[in-house]
């Protein structure tokens, strides 16, 4: 049969009608583009392999514009019922088979052709047939179900699908429109509205009246707006806006040589001193899900500089898995700012415990902002999680060129989308959101609303407490000040319609309280250095340093890199506290951060350390309810705070002579207890010692407190404490689980602010001679002291001292009665007439083996033998009265059999033993010339009975060698010591 065929347009018309009919399955939405193409079909050739009759089709773009998007070749009107298209890609709702067409990257230019499109027909009865071809764009679906059914009931889950970068022009998607169904809209109304613009739904979520539709690719933003306007007039459509891209809140800046300095002033290093607790907790917990909602290139498209990304964030993955938006690195930069290892490489994340995190990059590149809530909704993990959103409404602070500013009503509508999509999960996550970077930008001059972080994104808008979203009618925010640009203020009727539809939704939900809107400060070293960044939006919840933040591609500026520090801290808090993560409302986490900010010139600024410290319960503190402080003090990570830890801290705060070390620079070490960046020294910082009056996960109260240390009370001002004061306070608190005597020895004279001075400090007496000592107790009203002496006799009340009968050196000690930890000393040298002193320095090795089990057994006995000669005055009489009078050990141990990277982590008490060995007799003989020869290999000095602390921060205790200098003082009677060999 050779019949005339219908025209292509008629066929497509019928096809579209068919798609509008009720159906039980999703129907694809097509837009006829046949008139833009010249279609050439070859005759049929029998393919014997497939037993099909094949025609080869060539399509040539005869329009004047590049054709983009997803195209299909529809086959219709096949005149023989037994003939079918054997190689169809799919079938329309009306039963039309189609082939998807390969479109070149960037689209099909005018005059360009798609060749060799094979149509393979099955024709088992070999009957004559003809058919009709049509070219159409195909994206999205129509609503299924009965035409009179509510449209909202026909919505199901359609994950957002990204578009190519080339389809986004100045932030506007050329093929996407965000559509909101009107209340009561029917399936037919929506499908007919879609037919008006050749659209199809490409993303939706059950129960949500917000969908994104695909439309034929438009040549520019104005054309998309025209289609959106057309939709807004259609029954069943409440709102329709062109799809907008999100603006990454990051400013491009040249690379900097700084090494993660942005984390220093907000005290992240001090917060990380509790990292052992975080690691220990995560060993028994599931990894903490963290979502970074941003633009991510496919990993294969990342620049070479990002090769280390996987190493910094093991297990990082994208959602959807196969996504990737061009060469976008913004999401990766945000991610490493949030979490990356604290190692020798940059960048370092706010949370360095990446092995405990399950970080997902939620791809929003290539999808309009109206799709973002849906994409997030579909990516949400079960249970609780932390999220970061460093994006905002367009524009991205353009310095020149046209501005695509988002109308206030569009912002409100996007916010409703966010609320509808996520409000059911607000209790499960905390999200850090960027404040925006347009404060001093051209767009903010035209539209003052752009200065305010609260309108920077849908998430931020949701934090407003006004359920009427009155901001949309505020002409001072949205009317253009240049008199040229279009006003963005919503009309009163728009607002009325908006409230009619959404007020009941918004009223019980607003404000959203799981959001931390984050602004940016400049760089600095301490809080006082921090000033607000010139670009950072106003009305923020908290600031973080957002300038000079290192990424794999250099230095980055913007609130985009400030927000992930907040998210990173929140995730770190959850690793530290399972109670906060699992039991407490997520708003508690927000409160912990907000209530512990530091007030700077930039406003409330993140204080990571204070926030971490707020995780402990309010006082009185115990080892059980103050895990963070215990972890902080448990420097050797043996899960208790004891004298070993004290010894380690003391070794860092005092030199070998027991004098306090005043550090010249900040080293942000593990031993920085007060969080000022210095190790030890006199610098002070606020520290909530007792937690009394403080709120767990909330505000910390800093006040003046008193604690009993030994037998006396010591005052602490929590607004100004040194590292040593922190140590002293907790050494005498319930957190301490070590030996009392050891504590006393280690902290003797170090924890009190009371000092005792003995006068005279040095005196020489003959045997039996007397001296009255006096004492002054500084810092205390009570001047009473108790007198003691190491040798000789002293009246404990009056200080009258009587020297012993033999030559020696004694110490007189005056101990404060009110503050027994405070004492003063005087040295008394008792000289025997004719006795001469000679000192020399001997040095040798003491070999010690430290017991490894239990680790508290810290005895490190060692011994040495020595030999020398002492030349006495040959005219004098010498005898075995020569003796070692004083022996002390100086210097530091060196590692003999080091484990890796332990060299900086050992500590030793520098033991001075001045009196215990003074009775040691020296074996030797005096020759006729008066030279006293000390016998080689016999004389022995034994080190033992005391303690040497060799404790490594990782708990390792090993064999060590000490290079020890022994300082001997010999005395001889009846002669003069003239030489030493």
């Amino acid at each position: 049969m050779k019949n005339l065929r219908r025209a292509v347009s008629i066929a497509i018309g019928i096809a579209l009608m068919g798609m509008s009919a009720a159906t039980n399955a999703w129907s694809q939405a097509f837009t006829d583009l046949t008139n833009r193409f010249a279609v050439v079909k070859s005759g049929l050739v029998l393919n014997r392999a497939t037993n099909t009759y094949n025609s080869v089709v060539t399509l040539t773009n005869v329009s004047g514009a590049t054709i983009k998007g997803s195209l299909v070749l529809l086959v219709s009107n096949v005149t023989a019922g037994s003939v079918t298209l054997a190689n169809k890609s799919g079938q329309s709702g009306a039963g039309m088979p189609y082939l998807t067409l390969p479109i070149p990257a960037g689209g099909l230019a005018p005059g360009a052709a798609i060749s060799n499109i094979v149509l393979a027909f099955s024709n088992p009865t070999r009957v004559a047939f003809t058919f009709t071809l049509a070219v159409a764009s195909m994206e999205g679906v129509l609503l299924p179900g009965a035409g009179s059914a509510p449209a909202i009931s026909a919505i199901s889950d359609l994950p957002p699908v990204g578009v190519d970068e080339s389809l986004i022009q100045n932030g506007v998607f050329l093929s996407r429109i965000s559509v909101t169904f009107a209340p009561g809209a029917t399936v037919d109304q929506i499908n007919q509205a879609l037919a008006l613009v050749g659209g199809g739904i490409v993303s939706s979520a059950p129960g949500l009246e917000f969908v994104t539709i695909a439309v034929p690719v438009q040549p520019n933003a104005a054309a998309v707006e025209t289609l959106a306007s057309k939709l807004r007039t259609a029954p069943g459509v409440l709102w329709a806006f062109p799809g907008h891209a999100s603006a990454a809140n990051q400013l491009p800046l040249p690379p900097s040589s700084f090494q993660d300095k942005h984390l220093l002033p907000t005290r992240f290093p001090a917060a990380w001193n509790t990292i052992d607790l975080a690691r220990r907790n995560c060993a028994t917990q599931a990894k903490l899900p963290v979502l970074v909602i941003d633009e991510f290139a496919n990993p294969a498209s990342l620049p070479a500089g990002y090769i280390g990304f996987d190493g910094q964030l093991p297990g990082f993955h994208l959602f959807p898995a196969s996504s990737g938006f061009g060469t976008a690195t913004h999401g990766y930069n945000v991610t490493t700012t949030l979490a990356a290892l604290f190692d020798t490489n940059t960048p370092t994340g706010a949370n360095p415990v990446t092995e405990c995190l399950d970080v997902t990059g939620v791809e929003i590149g290539g999808i309009p902002d109206s799709d973002v809530p849906l994409r997030i909704l579909q990516s949400l993990p079960s249970g609780r999680f932390i999220a970061n959103f460093s994006q905002g409404f367009l524009p991205e602070c353009p310095t020149s060129g046209s501005i695509t500013a988002i109308p206030a009503l569009d912002r409100a509508q996007s916010t409703v989308g966010w609320i509808r999509a996520t409000s059911r999960r607000w209790g499960d996550f905390l999200v850090a959101s960027s404040a925006g970077n347009c404060l001093n930008d051209r767009v903010a001059e035209i539209y003052p609303g752009y200065q305010d972080s609260r309108y920077n994104s849908a998430i931020n808008v949701a934090t407003l407490s006004d359920p009427t979203f009155g901001f949309m009618r505020d002409t001072t925010l949205w009317n253009a000040t240049d008199g040229v640009s279009p006003n963005l203020t919503a009309s009163s009727s728009d607002q009325a319609i908006f409230l009619l539809n959404y007020l009941s939704l918004l009223q019980p939900l607003l404000p959203e309280k799981n959001v931390l809107v984050t602004g940016s400060t400049r760089q600095g070293t301490i809080f006082d250095d921090l000033f607000v960044s010139s670009f950072s939006g106003s009305n923020i919840d908290v600031n973080a340093v957002g300038e000079g933040v290192l990424t794999f591609s250099g230095s980055a500026d913007g609130t985009s890199v400030a927000a992930p520090q907040v998210a990173g801290l929140a995730s770190y808090l959850w690793l530290l506290s399972d109670d906060l993560r699992s039991n407490r409302p997520v708003t508690d986490t927000r409160e912990a951060i907000i209530e512990n900010v530091h007030s700077t010139a930039a406003g409330p600024t993140l204080d990571a350390y204070a926030t971490v410290l707020s995780l402990d319960a309010p006082g009185p503190l115990t080892a059980a309810n103050a895990p963070v402080r215990r972890a902080l003090l448990d420097v050797n990570n043996d899960q208790k705070f004891d004298h070993v830890d004290i010894a380690v801290f003391v070794s860092r705060f005092f030199d070998a002579n027991g004098n306090p070390i005043e550090p010249p620079t900040r080293d942000y070490s593990r031993y920085d207890l007060n969080g000022d960046g210095f190790t030890g020294g006199s610098k002070t910082e606020a520290f909530d010692l007792d937690r009394a009056g403080s709120t767990q996960y909330g505000r910390s109260l800093y006040s003046g407190i008193t604690e009993r240390i030994e037998v006396g009370d010591v005052d602490f001002n929590e607004n100004q404490v040194t590292d040593m004061e922190v140590l002293c306070y907790y050494a005498y608190s319930a957190l301490y689980q070590g030996l009392s005597d050891e504590r006393t020895d280690l902290l003797l004279g170090k924890c009190t602010q009371v000092s005792v001075t003995v006068t005279p400090g040095v005196v020489t007496l003959t045997p039996g001679g007397q001296q009255v000592f006096t004492a002054q107790v500084a810092g205390a009203q009570d001047q009473r002291v108790v007198w003691t002496a190491s040798c000789g006799g002293i009246d404990s009340l009056t200080g009258l001292y009587t020297a012993p009968g033999a030559g020696t050196t004694c110490q007189v000690i005056a101990t404060s009665v009110a503050y027994p930890a405070a004492f003063g000393k005087a040295t008394v040298t008792i000289t025997v007439p004719g006795e001469t002193f000679l000192s020399f320095l001997w040095h040798g090795f003491l070999i010690g083996q430290v017991s490894t089990n239990p680790p508290e057994a810290r005895n490190c006995p060692g011994q040495t033998t020595f030999a020398s000669t002492i030349v006495l005055d040959p005219t004098g009489s010498t005898s075995s009265q020569i003796r070692v009078k004083e022996l002390s050990f100086l210097g530091q141990p060196t590692l003999l059999a080091p484990a890796t990277d332990l060299s900086n982590f050992f500590a030793q008490t520098s033991q001075t033993d001045s009196d215990q060995r003074d009775t040691l007799s020296i074996a030797g003989n005096q020759d006729s010339m008066g030279v006293f020869h000390i016998t080689n290999g016999v004389n022995r000095v034994v080190i033992g009975g005391g303690e040497c602390f060799i404790v490594f921060s990782d708990g390792h205790i090993g064999r060590t060698r000490y290079t020890t200098y022994a300082n001997f003082t010999f005395t001889g009677v009846g002669g003069v010591l003239t030489d030493l060999q």
């Binding site: 050739v45 393919n47 070999r126 004559a128």
Partner: protein
């Protein structure tokens, strides 16, 4: 394995309605002695009607049984006519290939009506055991034809050659030149035929 060859498209001049002769030569020296089938397919694309005429078949191979179908008539020893009276029209013959074969074909040139496909003539060399082409060609339809003619309404149609083994061109000139009186007679005879062709084209 399928072997794709560079296609050569030859547009031949010829008379509308009664298209000129085309010589097709196929080098089968590499397949000499192979049992094969020659398939001359003519598939209807819709109205109007067209006809293919095959003549002057020469080979040093050996022809075998013939299996015509649809509107196929005649024999290669003389003339084969393929009309598109049916959808699928084929002259299929067994052949033991020699070093080559050749034939001359002509076609009417009635382009397809609106909505129709061009009528298409195609040549295949078939493996009789599998019923599939003996070797792959550059045929974009995937059918592995050696030659395809689409009667597309252009003055000459579109002849596409998909194998380097195939050569096409005009047939050798006739050795006898008609006498003037005979030329006149031929011209008289062609007049109504040419008018008919114009009428068809105008339709």
């Amino acid at each position: 394995m399928k072997t794709w060859l560079i296609p050569v498209v030859v547009i031949l001049a010829g008379a509308r309605g009664l298209w000129g002769d085309t010589l097709v030569s196929v080098d089968t020296s590499g397949l000499a002695g192979t049992a094969a089938q020659l398939a001359f397919d003519f598939i209807d694309g819709g109205p109007p009607l067209n006809t293919i005429t095959i003549s002057s078949f020469l080979t040093d191979g050996t022809l075998g049984g013939v299996f015509p179908s649809g509107g196929a008539s005649g024999t290669l020893l003389g003339t084969v006519v393929l009309s598109d009276s049916d959808f699928f029209n084929e002259y299929l013959t067994d052949i033991t290939l020699g070093s080559s074969f050749s034939f001359v074909f002509s076609a009417t040139a009635n382009g397809p009506d609106a909505g129709s496909l061009p009528d298409a003539f195609s040549l295949f060399l078939i493996d009789p055991n599998t019923g599939l082409p003996l070797f792959g060609t550059a045929d974009p339809s995937g059918a592995d034809s050696l030659v395809t003619l689409n009667i597309d309404g252009s003055p000459t149609g579109a002849l596409s050659v998909y194998s380097t083994s195939v050569k096409t061109g005009p047939p050798p000139a006739a050795s006898a030149v008609p006498e003037p009186s005979m030329m006149w007679m031929l011209g008289v005879g062609l007049v109504p035929l040419l008018r008919r062709a114009r009428l068809f084209n105008a339709a």
